[in-house]
Symmetry: C2
């Protein structure tokens, strides 16, 4: 594989793996703290699915990188600036409503992207995506239902969901940015250009927000910097501090 | 030095150093977050004094331990179960009032103990304590003033200070527990038996709480486990996670 193509594929795999990892860790923070038992178990399951996807994406990333790292090394021994997750994934949980809104905004993206990736010219990408797509479809069903239920619920739940949407929406656009590497991957049939998914995403959001009686912010401004490791929020470092503690304190520990 | 005496002295030095370190770290968490600039600087100064004391206590502890560790190694490379700080020091900051109440409860203890330690038969202990005693006297002046000002302030500040005292008081007794090692150190003139300081402490608390219009809880129950490393609160691990991050992620780093 030529150097540029390898870099583009590695960046793509890290973006997929890191976004699943960081969001999965965030969601796992709810374990034992959810408002009702059913939601607690559902969130823990979502987190587990995401960590499972992480394992597959980062395993492949480590192979492509070719430096002898394992998926665990990539997850637990990189510092903030080497992570390629979307900023959306690292934002703090906030209340249950905000967590579910973030989940919906991510699930909607994943549920559109993953079925296309399942047709990738790269058989390994296709295989991982096919498995992840089933989980994403299920996650979307749950998170969309919750967004509608809380958005079109009590006055307080409505206000909280609107506040969550207003807070999170300026991070949505980063999932649809693309660069030269993405163009090369698209040309090679490895992955669709992220920007090409936006219309379908917008239509899905419009439909769900309409049903949830929530108003989509009228702006295309987006924070960015996560997907290319240019700049993360202050929250990522604190998250890594907890997430990586064990491997940092006891290097090389295994189960 | 006989084995038992060495253990007793080491435990004592770790208790002093770890309590100063952990409280110092907690207080440093206020940096940039205090209600007014003057308090922000004052708290940062208090934290610096405590970290300075830590350096001296743990340096001596490392020498007595004789395993080639530095004070930094003891601070940054031990895990929770090896810490010997009082539980009081590791409790979360809560609001500004609770932080200042915790500071007062600690300063009152330090301001009684340290002048006596300055007369220690161990010249190194005497030297460290003489320096620390001056700082503790100043800390006590500030924290006692604040406890009185907020306790005898508005209805809200009074209620918050009473709540802080009610929350923290069950951790006070640990500073006055003693065991065989403490008895040996007292017999050798190294350090007074902790229990022997309680009457003076109680009188000081009574005086200040009276002026602050706060009511001392009518109980001698105390949480314990920190001073002997038997059991820390869940909060210590999270604190270490932040405090030790740099040395854990970049082992052997120096300024």
């Amino acid at each position: 594989m030529a150097g540029n193509d390898k870099d583009a594929l590695l960046n793509f795999l890290l973006r997929m793996g890191d976004s699943a990892l960081i969001l999965g860790h965030r969601v796992s923070e709810w374990c034992g703290h959810s408002p009702v038992l059913e939601e607690d178990i559902a969130l823990a399951n979502t987190a587990l699915d995401l960590i499972g996807q992480t394992q597959l994406w980062l395993e492949y990333a480590a192979e492509i990188q070719g430096e002898g790292n394992s998926a665990d090394d990539l997850a637990f021994l990189r510092d903030a600036w080497d992570f390629r997750n979307f900023l959306l994934a690292e934002l703090p949980n906030g209340d249950f409503g905000r967590t579910m809104m973030r989940q919906f905004l991510f699930d909607a993206w994943a549920s559109i992207l993953l079925p296309r990736l399942a047709q990738s010219s790269d058989p390994r990408v296709a295989e991982i995506a096919a498995k992840a797509a089933k989980e994403a479809a299920y996650h979307l069903e749950r998170s969309a239902d919750t967004v509608v239920g809380l958005g079109d619920g009590t006055a307080e739940s409505h206000d909280r969901m609107q506040a969550a949407l207003d807070y999170l929406y300026p991070y949505v656009g980063e999932m649809f940015l693309s660069d030269e590497g993405d163009a090369a991957l698209a040309a090679a049939g490895v992955a669709p250009d992220p920007a090409s998914l936006r219309n379908e995403y917008d239509a899905l959001l419009k439909r769900v927000m309409n049903e949830a009686t929530l108003e989509l912010p009228d702006t295309r401004f987006t924070h960015s910097g996560g997907r290319d490791g240019r700049m993360h929020t202050e929250h990522l470092g604190h998250l890594l501090c907890s997430m990586q503690w064990l491997q940092r304190a006891y290097p090389g520990s295994t189960w």
